[in-house]
Symmetry: C2
DNA sequence: GATTGAACATAACAGTGTTATATTAAAGAA
DNA sequence: TTCTTTAATATAACACTGTTATGTTCAATC
């Protein structure tokens, strides 16, 4: 990666961290990087390319948050630790979270490369979910259960960003969310179809 | 409401239904309504006012979807019917759904009036959730459980809009979602804290 | 009828992502 | 090393965005 490309990406990442996607105009990125706007087109094929890089960063942050030492933990505890990591990431990197879940601009469509990273992240969740299921569980069953967990945790993050979140006086949104997910994991473990 | 205001709102609604928020520029709305752009500022205080009207429409659609005859249904069945209505609405009115959950433009912030309608919709969900709980359940317990259901169902809708949704070969996303929610409702009903 | 405020048309403003044009720099071939 | 081709670059222009400014017309009130 050449110097200008690196400078552009660094400038974009910094602006994004400070001000989210609203701070990311091609002129402000170019200015901060000390180059002209054309660099964004030659190196990144336009603003979409910048957004793709940030999207990929976002899912990499998701994967990192769920990457930890698993020894001596039960399957449920591994999942819950992953869920906690996911919530921590969502809170610490709100701009990235909003970008990867399309809470910014529905005109942005991730590239195939960016989508592949999203799928990889889901693959990680799938592996953790498989720990909850019998060894001979089908791929469809694993996917179904992984999606279930993801829908639940993402739902909590998304609603926290919502206008109605202010109705809740809850001291700790994510503790509440974790407890609900924990109950659901128990329900998954108790399902007849999920027995060895 | 005067004629121009009505024409503008009608034009905006039609454009929105066809092309989502991307179709809603003040010039295209004004042109379709047969007025100049200034009407959007005098009648709606700008584009935000149009978005507020559509946001309010969106939550009204949510409330309608969950409004049905409840006689002869158990508390769980009432909730599941509401969940089905919610999914049907989310599918039939994707533009509205994306708008009310911020999947469009994070520069749009709902007005106090629009937020009040969102809160009203949550109040409806709260009433249905209360049916699952003992009569003496506290407001906090009701809110917690209502949020749980909402997080789950919204999570499924949101992930259906996501790039990773294409991984799933599932014939019926929402049937799968409903089943997961049903399991969770059972888990809620089984909780010691939720017993009469 | 005169005054005031609202509604309205149009132009201009400041911003957006992108493309066009010309120039310079870098890489590859002879 | 020199020449040719390609890539990178600066700048201006384009078409679009939401909004404000300016002036005119309309409607309501006195």
């Amino acid at each position: 990666m050449n110097i200008a490309k690196r400078k552009i990406l660094k400038a974009a990442s910094e602006l994004f961290l400070e001000g989210g996607i609203a701070a990311l105009s091609v002129r402000s990125i170019a200015k901060k990087a000390g180059v002209s706007t054309i660099g964004i087109y030659s190196h990144f094929q336009g603003k979409e390319g910048i957004l793709d890089e940030l999207y990929i960063q976002g899912f990499e942050l998701v994967m990192q948050a769920m990457d930890f030492e698993r020894k001596a933990l039960s399957a449920k505890d591994i999942m819950l630790k992953g869920v906690r990591g996911y919530f921590a990431m969502a809170e610490a990197h709100e701009g990235h979270y909003r970008l990867i879940f399309g809470e910014n601009d529905n005109r942005y469509t991730p590239s195939e490369e960016a989508k592949a990273v999203a799928e990889k992240a889901f693959g990680q969740l799938l592996k953790v979910t498989a720990l909850l299921l019998p060894d001979n569980a089908s791929m469809a069953l694993k996917q179904k259960n992984a999606l279930e967990i993801w829908a639940f945790v993402h739902g909590y993050v998304s609603l926290k960003h919502h206008a109605v979140a202010s109705i809740f006086e809850t001291p700790d949104w994510y503790a509440m969310a974790e407890e609900a997910v924990s109950v659901h994991i128990d329900a998954i473990l108790a399902k007849p179809e999920n027995q060895p």
